[in-house]
């Protein structure tokens, strides 16, 4: 019997796996943003001494994983599993990064929700007793994403007001069984939701209904209220999608005053990114450096992270298909174990 599942789509982590450590490696533009002092490494340019942006992206991911492991005093091959993904075709960044580590690897694609997907699966692996330390990482690079999904980077295209800036950055999280720290209590696996948005420059609007769907399901399944969390944090809706989500939540009578979005925390207002940040790296470089870090000082010490993804493909866009969205939610709680008191 599925004893660890509650409600329609949520699961309970009985052993409460712990986010033992994290690291973020980012590009130069992110390195000028409001979180600049929190990042472990800032690349001096978008090429990172490599001969292509794709290789630079792989290096970012590799370094973030190594640094996260180092903080927990672990060697790369001591991971029981590595879970990772990115935005590029055939998830090449994750695949080629995993080549470096001698760790069992599962490649994931959930667009920008990949980090949440990886964390949920890491939690399941640990809670099921299949491993003790699992790495979850996701990564994006502005230039590799633009040339694959939109236009050549040197083409004189006017970006629309709703467009978001794909983050150049990678975040890695080491999930372990443990007692003290940021621990995963529940997760809600999202459904693919499509509200017919076709504009590839307005992915926030495409993802907002998915975020609503998952947050609502999470609250119903767990019997919690939005106010039980200090923050409910969406992955990368950006300014436009965030406004859409607030409107949608108001219509459903869900309070949204503790709602925030990772895409609003990466860049400063003067960085001309229009609707904020997006990409696999967006939530990955914000969750740890911005939220996990200070969680112990919050009144409720709880947050809900809803990683959002726009399942966009240039191929289906050309065929006139709309952009489906998905969101996966994880509830985190800061707890202090018996032994460490």
């Amino acid at each position: 019997m599925a004893v660890k599942k509650i409600g329609g789509q949520s699961l309970v982590f009985e052993s409460r796996p712990c986010v033992a450590s994290w690291a973020a490696v980012v590009g130069p533009m992110e390195g000028e943003g409001p979180l600049k002092s929190e990042y472990d490494m800032i690349m001096k340019d978008s090429l990172f001494d490599q001969d292509s942006w794709e290789k630079a992206e792989q290096k970012m991911m590799q370094y973030s994983i190594e640094l996260a492991l180092k903080k927990a005093d672990r060697l790369p091959w001591e991971m029981d599993y590595l879970l990772g993904g990115d935005l590029l075709n055939q998830i090449i960044t994750a695949n080629f990064t995993a080549r470096v580590f001698g760790a069992p690897f599962l490649g994931l694609y959930g667009a920008c929700s990949t980090l949440a997907e990886g964390m949920i699966l890491a939690g399941i692996l640990i809670d099921g007793g299949y491993g003790d330390s699992v790495g979850a990482a996701s990564c994006s690079h502005h230039d590799t994403a633009e040339r694959q999904l939109r236009f050549p980077t040197e083409m004189g295209v006017q970006r629309s007001q709703t467009a978001q800036w794909t983050v150049t950055g990678s975040g890695a999280y080491l999930i372990r069984s443990g007692e003290t720290g940021v621990r995963m209590t529940h997760a809600t696996v999202g459904k693919v939701v499509d509200y017919g948005v076709k504009n590839a420059s307005d992915m926030g609007s495409a993802m907002a209904p998915a975020a609503l769907d998952t947050i609502r399901a999470h609250l119903e399944d767990t019997g919690r209220n939005a106010a039980d969390y200090d923050y409910i944090i969406t992955g990368d809706l950006g300014r436009r999608g965030f406004d859409s989500l607030k409107t949608l939540m108001a219509e459903e009578d869900l309070p949204a005053n503790n709602l925030t979005d990772c895409g609003l925390h990466v860049y400063g207002g003067n960085q001309d990114t229009h609707s904020g940040a997006s990409g696999c790296g967006c939530s990955a470089i914000v969750m740890g450096p911005r939220f996990f870090k200070e969680m112990r000082r919050w009144p409720r010490k709880k947050l809900l992270f809803a990683g959002t993804g726009a399942l966009l493909s240039p191929l289906t866009s050309f065929q006139g298909e709309s952009i489906p969205g998905i969101a996966h939610a994880i509830a985190f709680e800061w707890t202090e174990g018996e032994n460490s008191k």
Binding site: R147, P152, G156, Q158, Q161, G196, V197, R239
Partner: protein, 188 residues
Amino acid sequence: MTDQERELLRRHQDVLAREAGSRGRERARWAEKRKEIEQAQDALLRERGRLYLVRSSKTAAKVPLVKNMLWAFGVGGVICSVGQGFVFLFQRFGLALKDASAASTCVLIAIGAFLTGLGVYDDIGKRAGAGSIVPVTGFSNSISSAALEFKREGFLYGVGAKIFTVAGPVILYGVAVSIVVGLVDLLF
């Protein structure tokens, strides 16, 4: 997922199983029924999308229309005056107006490619929009940016193939329309 969508999906599954398990005329009848349900599903999806777009367009960020118009007008105008300047220059060297104009176009094309290579043209285009797309320098930019971007994939399948990403459609429809125009002119 709404109850209506669930009900449709349940019926779809049922009909699909019957279609798969039958032959001949009966199968065709089930297929007919399956298509009806699929159309209803698509209609629901479209309707939901329409409602969402109507609702979300109310909160949409405004396009800075006046700013865009001024930039497009200004930059487009400046590029055309530069072109005119080259025409005067070439005329002074003794070229006929038509040849001077063609030469001026080629110079602008080269300037567009050069600025693209320097990485400046996309910064202009970010603000100027149509002002830097419509002039022939924009044509040059779309060709050279594609070529430049795919240099790392090699000179055959990278530069060679991708250089026509935008040039291809422009040449194709330019040629197609001009042939039609030529023939229409011939016939009438």
